[in-house]
């Protein structure tokens, strides 16, 4: 069984500080939904409101359409995986996993059977008698998942459960989490500040900043059509060119940035409509590093400009090239490792090109600073 979760105008205040501000979102049943945002933006706060550990100052949490006000965490059909897992160190792995059944008075044999099923689900068969501290980080992770799944919750809430793991293990666990979610078929609400994590696992993501939702959508939509400068720079990498609108023709906006004229699409304001611009507006033009190419006879797109190479950085599968256009504008673009960059060296001028279809213009606003 799985359930949908709806947040209606949720605000959470501590004193007069808003940790969450007017958050409204509908999470569908069976969905893998992520809240993505920088540290301290209120993700844990929101999750605690869903699980019932704190009451929102305003707004409602609905699970399967039922208002959860006044219903405690132990009575909600949710299960929470804590940021630090919070496994019980004095209990064995099995005892941890079926603790929720023990408190419900399920008999010992039945518990043992269920523990074995769950250990199999997390690929730890036969390790139920171990103590928690005898497990590796990734194994503990999986035990926490099994423990949360033991009561067959309708919604599983996960608070950055992978943040303590090293990169390789994190990537492996992403795939595993996704597979477990497919198998049990319940709603997963996942919290992370790692955009890679959110994009690889989720059906949809909500990008949060300072307690507010900036954008909710499918992963590729959020990546390709950010609604705000914050989303454009927080999700993936982006080059930001500050400038002014000089003219608008149909959907194409002409932006002048430090003496160069660029063409770009108007960015989306919400699902269905674009921002509208007029001459003189202060805007930012965004173009992703992977959409910029070195100009040559095969690659000639409708925007071209020149910049000076600053440094070249080797990142395994990619090479990142940092350039300067003038004193206060710099940019980055990436080429696959196979591309020959031997003729680029420091301070050489290169001609670059990108398509106006890949660039978007948004009203001036705050960027995500990492």
């Amino acid at each position: 069984m799985s359930a949908d979760v709806e947040l209606q105008n949720i605000s959470v205040t501590f004193g007069n500080f808003y940790a969450a501000k007017n958050v409204s979102v509908k999470i569908r049943e069976g969905e893998f939904f992520s809240f993505l945002g920088p540290s301290g933006c209120g993700k844990t706060t929101l999750l605690r409101a869903i699980s019932g550990f704190l009451n929102p100052s305003e707004g409602k949490v609905l699970i399967s359409g039922q208002d959860m006000a006044g219903i405690g965490p132990n009575k909600r059909p949710t299960s929470l995986i804590f940021q630090n897992l919070a496994l019980f160190p004095l209990m064995s792995v099995s005892e941890n996993i079926v603790f929720s059944l023990e408190v419900r008075g399920v008999g010992k044999l039945e518990r043992q059977k269920r523990a074995e099923e769950l250990l199999e689900l997390i690929a730890l068969s036969g390790q139920g008698d171990k103590k928690v501290h005898e497990l590796s980080g990734g194994q503990r992770q999986r035990v926490a998942i099994a423990r949360a799944l033991a009561i067959e919750p309708e919604v599983l809430l996960l608070d950055e459960p992978l943040s303590a793991l090293d990169l390789k293990l994190r990537q492996k666990m992403r795939t595993e989490l996704r597979a477990i979610q497919k198998r049990v078929g319940i709603t997963f609400i996942y919290i992370t500040h790692d955009q890679g994590e959110a994009l690889t696992m989720s059906d949809r993501v909500a990008v949060m900043n300072e307690g507010e939702l900036e954008q909710v959508g499918l992963c590729d939509d959020v990546y390709d059509y950010p609604h705000t400068p914050f989303v454009a720079t927080f999700v993936g990498e982006n080059n930001a060119f500050y400038g002014k609108v000089t003219s608008v023709q149909n959907d194409l906006v002409n932006v002048e940035s430090s003496g160069i004229n660029f063409f770009a699409k108007a960015g989306k304001k919400d699902e269905n409509s674009n921002h509208s611009f007029s001459s003189g507006d202060d805007v930012i033009l965004f173009i992703r590093p992977e959409s910029i190419f070195i100009k040559n006879d095969n690659n000639k797109l409708d925007n071209t400009f020149t910049a000076k190479v600053n440094t070249i950085e080797f990142e395994g599968n990619l090479k990142n090239i940092y350039l300067k256009m003038n004193s206060d504008m710099s940019l980055k673009f990436s080429v696959p490792n196979a591309v020959d960059t031997s003729e680029l060296s420091n301070n050489t001028d290169v001609e670059l090109t990108f398509s106006s279809q890949k660039a978007i213009v948004l009203p001036k606003g705050a960027l995500a600073v990492d």
Binding site: S79, L80, F82, F88, L90, S100
Partner: protein, 303 residues
């Protein structure tokens, strides 16, 4: 040892070692060994000490059991009774103390915000600036026949005539419980403090009732603190003197009162030592029992 020296420097290390050895040898081991030896010797006037009569003997232990140094016809019901009464009462006082302090310690460690927790700690400590004897007399005033408690109870119409709290030893139990409350609260508080609050929430999220969360999560985590608090409170309660002297009913004796009498009033140091050794042995047995019961090691208790 080497790292100890390196960490603290030669001067401080030497000071520590001398201080600890002095403390152990001169203040604990030698006096206790002397008492142990004394307890096996007859009570002789100073002139005869070291003479031919000064031999090892069990007379004082015999006296504790049979009430006489020579005959074995009767048991010394009075002394044995006082002894067991003291031990059993001390155990009860320890249990009551634990039940009373656990919620307070839990509240301070996990429920109260840091500011009110600090306030609570201070208000628990300040009464203990007053000396133990004065605190006991204060309780005696509260519990007296015409005392505050009786006056309030009679005034509110709950009872018709004054309750004799002293004769019922209610005053004594209250006084003993109160006397060592801090030694229970602080080990408990420290132990519970160190529990990850997320574990409490995780248990709750998994559907656990408050009672079960305490039973399965908090108490197992805090067991070293519980054992440490219980052993300290038990030892000090069994060994208390001022509180029983002031608060016990005229026909209740605390074992320490007997010891005191042998040492001071009867000038029989040997018998006093024998009785002290008995009390000490039971206290040590109690500590070992607590460690067995809670499956903790001595190192954890001291922590």
């Amino acid at each position: 040892m080497n790292t100890f020296y390196k960490k603290n420097g030669p001067l401080i290390s030497t000071y520590f070692i001398i201080a600890i050895v002095f403390w152990l040898v001169f203040l604990i081991i030698i006096p206790q060994l002397y008492m142990l030896d004394l307890s096996f010797r007859p009570n002789l006037p100073p002139l005869l000490r070291g003479g031919p009569d000064d031999v090892h003997t069990l007379v004082h232990y015999k006296h504790f059991i049979f009430g006489s140094e020579t005959s074995q016809d009767n048991y010394n019901y009075v002394d044995i009774g006082v002894f067991f009464n003291t031990i059993i009462t001390a155990i009860f006082v320890t249990i009551i103390n634990l039940c009373f302090c656990y919620p307070i310690a839990f509240y301070m460690a996990k429920v109260a915000n840091p500011k009110s927790a600090r306030l609570l700690i201070v208000s628990l400590i300040i009464p203990f600036w007053i000396n133990e004897l004065l605190r006991s007399f204060a309780l005696r005033i509260l519990f007296a026949g015409e005392g505050v408690i009786n006056n309030v109870l009679i005034g509110s119409g709950l009872i018709d005539s004054a309750i004799n709290f002293i004769a019922l030893d209610i005053a004594l139990y209250t006084g003993l419980t109160y006397a060592y409350i801090l030694l229970m609260i602080f080990p408990l508080y420290n132990a519970i403090e160190s529990l990850d609050t997320n574990q409490l929430e995780a248990a709750k999220d998994l559907g656990s009732s408050t009672l079960r969360t305490h039973w399965r999560i908090v108490i197992p985590h805090a067991k070293a603190g519980i054992a440490s608090g219980c052993t300290m409170v038990f030892m000090l309660t069994a060994g208390a003197l001022a509180t029983p002297v002031v608060l016990s009913s005229p026909n209740t004796y605390w074992f320490t009162q007997l010891i005191y009498q042998w040492f001071n009033m009867n000038d029989n140091w040997s018998r006093g030592s024998a009785y002290s050794i008995l009390l000490l042995s039971v206290s040590v047995v109690f500590v070992l029992l607590m460690m067995r019961l809670f499956k903790v090691k001595i190192g954890e208790i001291i922590r």
